[in-house]
Point group: D2
Chain length 347, copies 4
């Protein structure tokens, strides 16, 4: 860490800062300029808050120079993480994966039809919410475990993997047997108890960025899961909240190459939540892949106009199909390919 | 709800919108202008998403004209909610309450000293975190139930009430016997399962605004608790995330009069998290009360320079005392008074 | 416009709103529900502020249902605007254009070398600032008219068009003879006097989105230029200000398809200012084109490490060349092509 | 400045950074830790961009440790700036000033009546816009110089000072004879040419914070004016743009104490633009003064319901009067008083 003292800070003030740094376990190097003193702390001290130093008397500013995340940093695994699923599919390699399906599990028929359409378009994962976080208590809250069973059945029939959202610790156990990948929603990105538990699970996790989370905070949340021993983790950009209201959120496409640079974890993009309007999803899906995404997570509904939630941002089946065709053309431009349909992975 | 069609929308498009409105239970009134048709839906239909209409063919825009919250709205209780605590103290009346204490419960001695100082300054509540949500997994995570016991003891000794944060459903039960008020932190404002459970509890709750939550979303989250039957709810403004980095967050002081206008619930302010730097806390505490706050929630530590968390934003005991003196002068300007120390409430 | 009255608004309140609407020139249609009255105003009244109605007594909310921009709207020219430059190059057609060059004009040699490299990479425009808006008064402020001459010379030598920023009305006249396209910077997006003057000029303009401007405000600013009679206008997304600090701004890639949908004007993207770091520029340039951009505006410097401004976000010449190669592969995926080098346009 | 190298950066990388620092005029001190090297640059070099270092090979991060503003910093004038107006009124001293009036100058009668009401309430300044920046080209654009004359006449009749907005350089000269204080609007906070010219004027200036401007950027803009030699400068907080849409902007009340701490310049607050709704103006005016503001700038209209602009946020004359009464009670709480009406200053 570094502390830049104010011009003409007193010896006593400087001494107080040095003592606190030493107390935390830093070796302190002092640089004395004409008017300003700079203190550099090196070593590997315990946890501290940099703001503590910023408000000390005589301090101009203080900077933390080492990342707070270690396991999530690119340096930990320079070659990048590849998550291998039961059926052999790999996320984080050369192939780009596509996860699609309705916002909510509404019925067996709806999910069966969705799975058929998702598979036909050439996707690898069926997504769908069995437990739904809704901002109004009067909205549809999901089918629960019954919804998980329906998803599993449909996915198996069409050779798909299942990804679905986990909202709290008590849901982890019952979900384990039905799903292939846990999804942590944006609202839970800093539900640290949940993250910690997911660190002890042996099942891949997809962690979505919170709508007000900085890139650094995403990586700190990832650290919670990694530090529990679960390294099968991918991150997901899905839009942040800004002043712009035309779109549901503002999709931070640049977070994709930034996360790929700072971390070894695969990064997928969710343009459906990023923009919130169906016709903007295909261009943003293409943009995400052009920017380096390892995968896409999108909402598609057999009949979006009748969807129980998020209908406005759900693709029509035909749109998904056309998008996949475009993605297959795009992937080689960024030296990638679209993963084959899961059935083919099996074969 | 209202749907404004695009200029020259076709009859077929208009008909499709009308059918969907009727299907949801609306009575539809149609206004035909020279170039534009407007459809007004009246009645009390079930849940729907306004975006669903915004993406229908031929629609210019669609507006929801009734609030999604009912119980949280000012109209539900025009006279305002008053929360009565076991010792007779009322939040939401003419008196302004002050809650203070350290960020984290660190030890019995630290809490006992805090309680003494908080009471001596004239506050009514002891705050302190036993369970700590920390953005880094390597930071101090709190003392847990042991911390709750310590708080209860100290609070009782000095005639204070206890407010502390609940982070997940499993903590509710063990907390019940030790505390007087649950606090839901900003990160959990949309942890809907937790909110729902707190709706079934018979103990006051203080719900903090999320750092990216709109005022309407705060009220929708409040609705979760109220709809469970727990009406002893207060809201808390504690800063939102903006582009400004000098302060930890940007405290939205205007949210105080807005929430008081839109809702009947008491509103308190947390300037410590709002600004994140000790010397800005007193002016922002005064500003909050000037703007109409029913109470203040602030961090104070017997020795902030050695605090295990949030030391930079914790007041020195002496500062808290001086602030209370100022608040006693300020309250009459807005036709209020500062609540007497709890010991006096008892007497 | 539409006014939704509060439940149980009085007849007097309703009457007051109707009178004000009629006064503004609206025909008012009234819908009376069980508890709520809705007033729809149709017709083409003069200017008014919707907030005026929002604060009238008894009003729940009021909505403006027609856009405030007319000439900028897609409906005004459904087929899209194509800007034709003197040398025959068209912006807004099937071909994507690339504009590149240093942030500041620093010397004749630097610009000549830049132009050579920009042309060699296959770009069509040379960009560079002669008048520089700098947030610190102590920073380099640009070479002025001398810089314009240098740009013109170099561009002519290598068959390029010149685009450069105009900062105030007095600069328009002297710039006319040296440049091919005016650029209005983000800080001047709402300098309405400047916009009005540019509406009277017969030279293309590229209007950049302000860092805090909504998409609707971009289109209103465009309206200033269009309403003066200058239809050779393109818009530019270059990043908005958000809470994220890793990147200089957050590039709102979704604004590209949104602007293309709402307006007939060509849309270009400036990933250099959008992200502020060189290595993020190529992925964001690709993302922008994948999302539908009609062109790119980027900073390149012959020696970025010695640049007098924006060196950190300036591409190395080699990077620009590689990027153009990728763009040529990408364009067909979105049914476009990269415009030929200007020299070829001439031929 | 400080550069923290990446762990295990090579000697060559470190050497390259040192060379660039020396080239800029820094004396470089090197601290070598177990894995990380830190370079501290001391001295007073010329202008440079810290991002230039952030993207150099092997650099973890780089920090600028001295402010870019010198004249605007508190250290330049620790005792604080007091601006003395022709009639003896001082801004920045113990007394708090109030500036009020309509958004736009609409007619002689409207302004005369406004001046009478503003004076009667006990304010010291008449505000009003003669040149209006409007986001739509079809909105009312102001009365121009004729409006200035009207303001001067009315202000003189009621013993008030005149503050009004300057939008471009060409307006400075004609305004000089009619006004007492220039106001630079939020949209022009980074119109550096305008700021520079105002630095050469001998007339006080009130500089408003831009809606997306950080506190540091406000001070850098102030530096433009100060460095021209005009020290009669006050700053104005008037709300920033955030995701919250209930209020027009989010008023950053904490910017008031922050600016007072970082700078010696007086700070006034404009709650009218900060919130955009009349009934929120009084609580936010009180909050601003409680937080330390040296003055208030507010919109009042004799008949807000008929105002040509900003009617929704303009106070009724009666509200202004009541607010002044409250402010007189509040000022002593923060050891201030409200300035006497200007007529009394004269006497």
């Amino acid at each position: 860490m570094i502390v830049a003292m104010q011009d003409h800070a007193t010896d006593e003030q400087i001494q107080q800062v040095i003592e606190r740094m030493v107390e935390l376990g830093f070796n302190v190097h002092r640089t004395t300029g004409e008017t300003q003193t700079i203190l550099a702390g090196v070593g590997t001290p315990g946890q501290f808050e940099i703001t503590e130093f910023q408000v000390l008397s005589g301090v101009h500013n203080a900077y933390r120079i080492s990342s707070q995340y270690k396991l999530a940093g690119r340096g930990f695994r320079p070659e990048g993480t590849r998550i291998k699923f039961a059926n052999g599919l790999v996320v984080g390699g050369d192939e780009i994966v596509v996860m699609a399906g309705p916002c909510s599990v509404e019925s067996r028929d709806q999910i069966r039809l969705s799975a058929q359409q998702v598979a036909a378009a050439g996707c690898q994962f069926l997504r769908g919410g069995a437990f739904k976080p809704r901002s109004s208590p009067y909205s549809f809250q999901g089918m629960g475990v019954e919804g998980l069973k329906i998803m599993r059945e449909a996915a198996d029939e069409y050779g798909l993997l299942v990804i679905t959202e986990v909202m709290e610790i008590s849901q982890i156990e019952p979900m384990l047997e039905y799903i292939d990948c846990f999804q942590v929603g944006a609202r839970n990105m800093q539900n640290f108890n949940l993250l910690r538990e997911l660190g002890h699970v042996r099942k891949p996790v997809c962690l979505k960025r919170g709508i007000a989370a900085t890139i650094e905070e995403v990586l700190l949340s990832a650290e919670y899961i990694l530090s529990g021993g679960n390294y099968d983790l991918m991150l997901c950009e899905r839009g942040i909240r800004t002043f712009e209201t035309y779109t549901r959120n503002t999709m931070d496409v640049s977070a994709i190459p930034v996360l790929k640079k700072l971390s070894h974890l695969p990064v997928v993009a969710d343009p459906s939540h990023g923009v919130g309007k169906r016709d903007l999803v295909p261009p943003m899906a293409l943009a995400s892949v052009a920017a380096g995404a390892d995968g896409l997570l999108m909402e598609m509904h057999p009949n979006p106009d009748k969807a129980m939630s998020d209908g406005a941002q759900s693709l029509y089946p035909e749109q998904l199909k056309e998008l996949l065709a475009k993605l297959r053309q795009l992937a080689p431009v960024v030296d990638r390919s679209i993963a084959p349909a899961v059935a083919q992975v099996h074969a």
